[in-house]
């Protein structure tokens, strides 16, 4: 039969095709979550994304890896989640008399998850390695305050040294840090995960380590199923003040926030990071008292391209203030943003040390008449038209349109949103200083201190100074604040620097971010810190 002989060929071809596509059927056998016998042993799941980089403390900048790292490592200090204050962890004390030379004393009894002790060397070696340009750690510039940073991390070429001269191990529990100049809030910076210690095991094979990290934090690494989940378990030998009240965390990956939300309301996911915009209107009714709505240390603003001749700071400050005054923040946050933001009236988010209410003053209060008057007095907007550059993939269109409407109605200035397809494209234009007009900018705190919102965003040449703002007065005040000998004094002096921003208005503060999140019926005592992260160690898994 002809048909049959041809069928044979088809069968053969099918077999080949199947062999080519059958890429193994080795299934994953992820354990079920929740349902532990007792509270303290119960694990809970958390909404997450795949980390962009291997899990090393100095290499995690985005949240997918950063949050996991925060549970696995503990540095010298951290921030008390209840009030944002600095508290000692591995450090017994950190002493300085001049804000430039620090002596660190470690507590004894801290160990890494592999049992090796956490010593002064664990910190110094980790920092030297992470700062070294050859090791390509994305957070390496956190070490730039330390003396000798330029030797291990030159702008070009190979490093001249492998260690920073500013770091000296005294003995197992003591080391000293010398900075290039006084940085009064250096201790605050030390709470950032990049300053975590690393065990000896790290240095033997960093690549392998990055896939299964050994830390010293409240949780131990268990497994990383790429693109699916990362599991950590409570570390029963943890020596820190924040001992876990649960047995562990499963960081479950979601590519869409909406899917995570659906899982949460049906109790298949325990703790959420942020409710997606489409569910904001209903999440409080869905979750009842399990809905979370609280302030976060992050701010949304729009910045002017001050590097363009059109927007030079001195002659157009009035216009910029006028534009700020033309924005009806209250209405926009309530309606367009569903109450998920809080109108801003300063450049520092509340909750950060040194936050001062209403530093922006009148300029951040909606007043259409005054707005129009100021814009006219200032000589008007170049071409009577402004654009607001933003990335279309981040859900910003709605509020940018609303802000533009508000400006148009109040001042008569033509205002349109300038959408770029995605975050990368928009950032490319912004970083290469190719914007003319306004651009969406924002800042999420690295540490809860006003210096972080001011020095790192508005200082001349600062890494995040997107608008190219440069004010000798601001820089002078910031420099003085950095030389103060106490953090309190620094925060106070930075408030003076912030006052300069109100005069120049290099960026218009719009609103502060809020943590709009929630948790399932399986867990309780879920609180969020000012970074918007749940306080993982405090989460209690309910008895089943």
């Amino acid at each position: 039969m002809r048909g049959a002989s041809q069928a044979k060929w088809v069968v053969a071809a099918v077999a080949v095709a199947l062999a080519a596509t059958a890429c193994g059927s080795g299934g994953s056998s992820s354990g079920s979550t929740g349902g532990g016998a007792s509270n303290a042993q119960g694990t809970f799941s958390y909404q997450s994304t795949e980390p962009q980089n291997p899990l090393q403390p100095a290499n995690a900048m985005e949240v997918g890896g950063g949050r996991v790292i925060k549970t696995l490592f503990k540095g010298l200090v951290d921030y008390d989640p209840s009030n944002g204050q600095l508290r000692n962890q591995v450090a017994e004390k950190i002493e300085t008399t001049d804000a430039q030379n620090y002596t660190v004393t470690l507590k004894s009894g801290w160990t890494f998850h592999d049992g090796t002790p956490v010593t002064a060397k664990s910190f110094v070696d980790a920092w030297n390695w992470s700062a070294n340009v050859k090791n390509n750690q994305i957070n390496s510039d956190w070490f730039s305050d330390i003396q000798g940073y330029a030797d291990v991390h030159p702008d070009e070429g190979d490093p001249k040294a492998t260690t920073m001269s500013g770091l000296k191990v005294v003995d197992d529990t003591h080391f000293t840090i010398a900075l290039d100049g006084p940085v009064s809030y250096f201790e605050y910076k030390l709470g950032y995960t990049a300053f975590s210690p690393l065990p000896d095991a790290f240095f033997t094979d960093p690549a392998k380590y990055g896939q299964s990290p050994i830390g010293n934090g409240p949780y131990k690494f268990v497994s990383w199923e790429h693109n699916k989940a990362i599991t950590v378990a409570a570390n029963d030998k943890y020596a820190g003040v924040d001992k876990p009240k649960n047995g562990g965390i499963v960081f479950k990956n979601y590519s869409q926030a909406d899917a995570a939300y659906k899982d949460l309301i049906s109790d298949n996911l325990d703790v959420l990071d942020q409710v997606d915009p489409s569910d904001l209107a209903s999440y409080k009714t869905d979750l009842g008292d399990r809905a979370v709505d609280q302030a976060q240390g992050a701010i949304q603003s729009i910045s002017f391209s001050l590097y363009q001749a059109d927007w030079k700071p001195e002659n157009l400050a009035k216009v910029r203030q006028g534009l700020s005054m033309a924005i009806d923040r209250d209405t926009i946050t309530k309606t367009v943003l569903n109450g998920s933001r809080q109108p801003a009236n300063s450049w520092v988010a509340p909750g950060a040390m040194g936050y001062k209410d209403n530093t922006c003053g009148e300029a951040c209060t909606y007043n259409p008449e005054k707005a129009k008057q100021l814009v006219t007095e200032g000589g008007g907007v170049p071409g009577n038209k402004i654009t607001v550059l933003y990335n279309a993939d981040g859900g910003h269109k709605e509020w940018v349109d609303a802000v533009c409407n508000s400006i148009r109605q109040a001042t008569g200035v033509e205002c349109v949103g300038d959408a770029k397809p995605d975050f990368k494209t928009a950032r490319d234009l912004i970083k290469n200083k190719k914007v003319n007009g306004l651009m969406r900018t924002g800042w999420v705190q690295d540490y809860p201190l006003n210096a972080n919102f001011l020095r790192d965003v508005y200082g001349t040449g600062a890494a995040a100074n997107d608008g190219g703002y440069s004010s000798p007065e601001f820089d002078r005040l910031a420099g003085e604040a950095d030389k103060a000998t106490s953090v309190e004094k620094t925060a106070e002096l930075y408030q003076q620097a912030e006052a300069q921003l109100a005069k120049d208005m290099p960026a218009i503060p719009l609103w502060y971010y809020k943590t709009t999140a929630g948790y399932s019926k399986n867990v309780q005592n879920v609180k969020y810190d000012s970074f918007g992260d749940p306080v993982f160690t405090q989460v209690e898994v309910k008895q089943k």
């Binding site: 080949v16 900048m61 790429h226 590519s255 975050f423």
Partner: protein, 308 residues
């Protein structure tokens, strides 16, 4: 026939090279610098940016990158993701999931689609035919995301029969609902194609002959009618298998299935040229093999079609 298969396999080579070339340059021409984007809102460290680009092989001209990529491809090296993982590992994790999902959807649309089409075609103009036309029209006009969200809401949130998202992507049972969503539109096309084809062939001369010969009804329909009516359906199903694999992005997103769609979405977001082209290479292969199978199946269905 052996020669035909060999020739078709040889023809695949230029098609394959062409598609891979196009996709390589397309993904590398996307705006935005993937390396600089790793620093987020902050300015990239110039020294590290350069080192990073060097590691990723991005510091040479596009043509050189292309030559390197093609050279590596034939040794089975698909390059690395930005997090330093082998793209082949990423594909190896995602592909089995999507193959399962696509095959489930495929079986669903094949079995149900052909069955509906057959009965509707045999009883043209009757109630079943009419209701099947309405149902399939409805399926065709509902976008996949809508169907997905409706199913999720009804079966998971309201009824609580299943979890809203797939908890274990390798579990066939959990993949059934996403597969139904994924296959539903194609199901409608298969049903309609089969129905039309059956209805037309019912009037053909060979059908009259078969009936006149006094063949049993099962044989008339099974051997004569079905075999001839399946040709357009097989053509559709063949290309659809590829479409199901590539088109799972939306469904996988809704149900949080960790397959090709999910991985592609992640890679496109991060502008990872290597990962995107790696997946496309695999999908191109799936398409090529599927269309070869379709062509070969023609001859089985209709022996008059010969291969030279």
């Amino acid at each position: 026939m052996g020669r035909y298969v060999a020739r078709r396999l040889l023809q695949m080579i230029p098609v394959f090279l062409g598609t891979v070339t196009i996709i390589f340059f397309m993904t590398r021409m996307l705006p935005g610098d993937p390396a600089a984007a790793m620093w987020g809102d902050k300015a990239a460290d110039p020294a590290q940016l350069a080192a990073f680009k060097h590691d990723m092989g991005l510091d040479v001209s596009k043509w050189q990158q292309y030559l390197n990529y093609m050279g590596n491809l034939f040794t089975g090296d698909f390059g690395k993701t930005m997090s330093g993982r082998q793209v082949t590992d990423v594909i190896g994790e995602a592909l089995p999931v999507t193959v399962r999902l696509a095959l489930l959807a495929f079986v669903f649309e094949l079995v149900l689609g052909v069955a509906i089409g057959l009965f509707a075609g045999l009883r043209r103009g009757k109630a079943f035919d009419k209701s099947s036309l309405v149902l399939t029209l409805l399926l065709i006009s509902i976008p996949v995301p809508v169907l997905g969200f409706v199913f999720q809401n009804v079966f998971a949130i309201q009824l609580g029969w299943i979890t809203p998202t797939v908890q274990d992507s390798m579990n066939l049972g959990q993949l059934i609902l996403p597969a139904i969503v994924l296959g539903s539109i194609s199901l409608a096309y298969v049903a309609r194609l089969t129905r039309t084809s059956i209805a037309e062939n019912l009037k053909a001369d060979y059908m009259r002959t078969a009936v006149a010969k006094g063949l049993p009804k099962r044989k008339v329909i099974g051997t004569h009618l079905m075999r001839n009516s399946m040709i357009p359906v097989v053509t559709f199903l063949g290309t659809d298998l590829g479409a199901l694999m590539g088109g799972a992005i939306v469904t996988e997103g809704i149900f949080n299935v960790k397959g090709v769609g999910n991985a592609l979405y992640h890679a496109i977001n991060l502008n990872e040229g290597a990962t995107v082209s790696g997946f496309v290479v695999v999908l191109v292969l799936v398409y090529l093999v599927a269309s070869l199978l379709v062509d070969l199946l023609y001859a089985v269905l209709d022996p008059r079609i010969r291969y030279a």
